[in-house]
Symmetry: C2
Subunit: 192 residues, 2 copies
């Protein structure tokens, strides 16, 4: 999309700092997949590292382990139904991008699928193999090696949530298909 | 507070499923502390387990490692300024509860400080020692052993975000003291 611009790696953690539900994308050996994940977080600013829980039963986990990489896309409110839908089906049953007419580009560093239409941002992530954490907690650590965001909502390295970009604002899964949307900037006293 | 009710452990992950910024509380050897953490997530439903990033430089980390436990409290929007304030100072410089006139009870299982006034929920967590993840990623894994939530916003095991309980709705840190608030239930198509 013409609106996406690269995000400096030093700012990449901000893209998921606020706890949005994300889409995890994968590609390996000519197949690709996408799932929803409510459980992710940054773990380090520099180098930018994240953790995401990817159940060991999922096709996404299989593909991520095979390729050593995955993408994280931050869906806006426009993708509410899609986000819930891709969380409830398996890519083993067919290409979910095709099923949902989901357009994905190719990440610049790792070749992961990156979704820009309806999303506010994406991150390409190189898996850091941690067999114990993966096995015991389904927690996959990764380093962010490329990131981009929609300039209509991420400006000069910061999110800019405004009344005119609500469709790009994040989704936060309460459970069972009930989400809350992020809204209304609040500025804490004493901020610099 | 009279509004808090126990939450079944099977539902505990829902309390942070939507990625709120939380308060991490600790107590050991007669001292106690509280800090803000934007980086936390559930990692397992049953038994309920979570991960939270606690920098190894912090007093919170020192106390959590010493006691093998910490509390997670989910502040509502009423605690916006407090949440930001306790994220920017160290408990090594004095008791932050006293400094901010923050009232805390005592958790029923581990004796961790639990904040109910201004918060929507709390979880008492027993640290699961994972020296490598703690060292490499400042990521602390823990099992939730007790949880409670305000019955005005968590009903029958589910969040109930409504127009009449916005003060208890969650905060999501964008960075630098800018937060977005969770708002407006969205129901995905196809939910059961």
């Amino acid at each position: 999309m013409a609106h996406f611009r690269p995000v400096a790696l030093a700012h990449a953690s901000r893209l998921i700092n606020h706890g949005p539900t994300v889409l995890v994308t994968t590609a390996h050996g000519g197949v690709r997949n996408v799932m929803a994940a409510a459980w992710s977080m940054p773990v380090e600013f520099t180098p930018p590292r994240i953790a995401v829980v990817i159940d060991k039963q999922t096709y996404t986990r299989e593909l991520a382990m095979a390729s050593g990489a995955f993408g994280i896309c931050v869906p806006g409110q426009a993708l509410l139904d899609l986000t819930y839908a891709v969380g409830g089906t398996s890519g083993r049953d067919g290409d979910k991008f095709a099923r949902h007419a989901l357009v994905a580009g190719t990440g610049p560093v790792l070749g992961m699928p990156v979704i820009e239409e309806g999303c506010a941002a994406w991150l390409e992530c190189r898996l850091i193999r941690e067999p114990h954490a993966e096995d015991a907690y389904d927690t996959c650590f990764a380093e962010v090696v490329a990131a981009a965001a929609d300039a209509r909502i991420f400006v000069d390295g910061h999110w800019a949530y405004r009344d005119d970009n609500t469709e790009l604002q994040s989704l936060h899964h309460l459970g069972g298909g009930n989400f809350v949307r992020a809204a209304g900037n609040l500025r804490a006293a004493g901020q610099v």
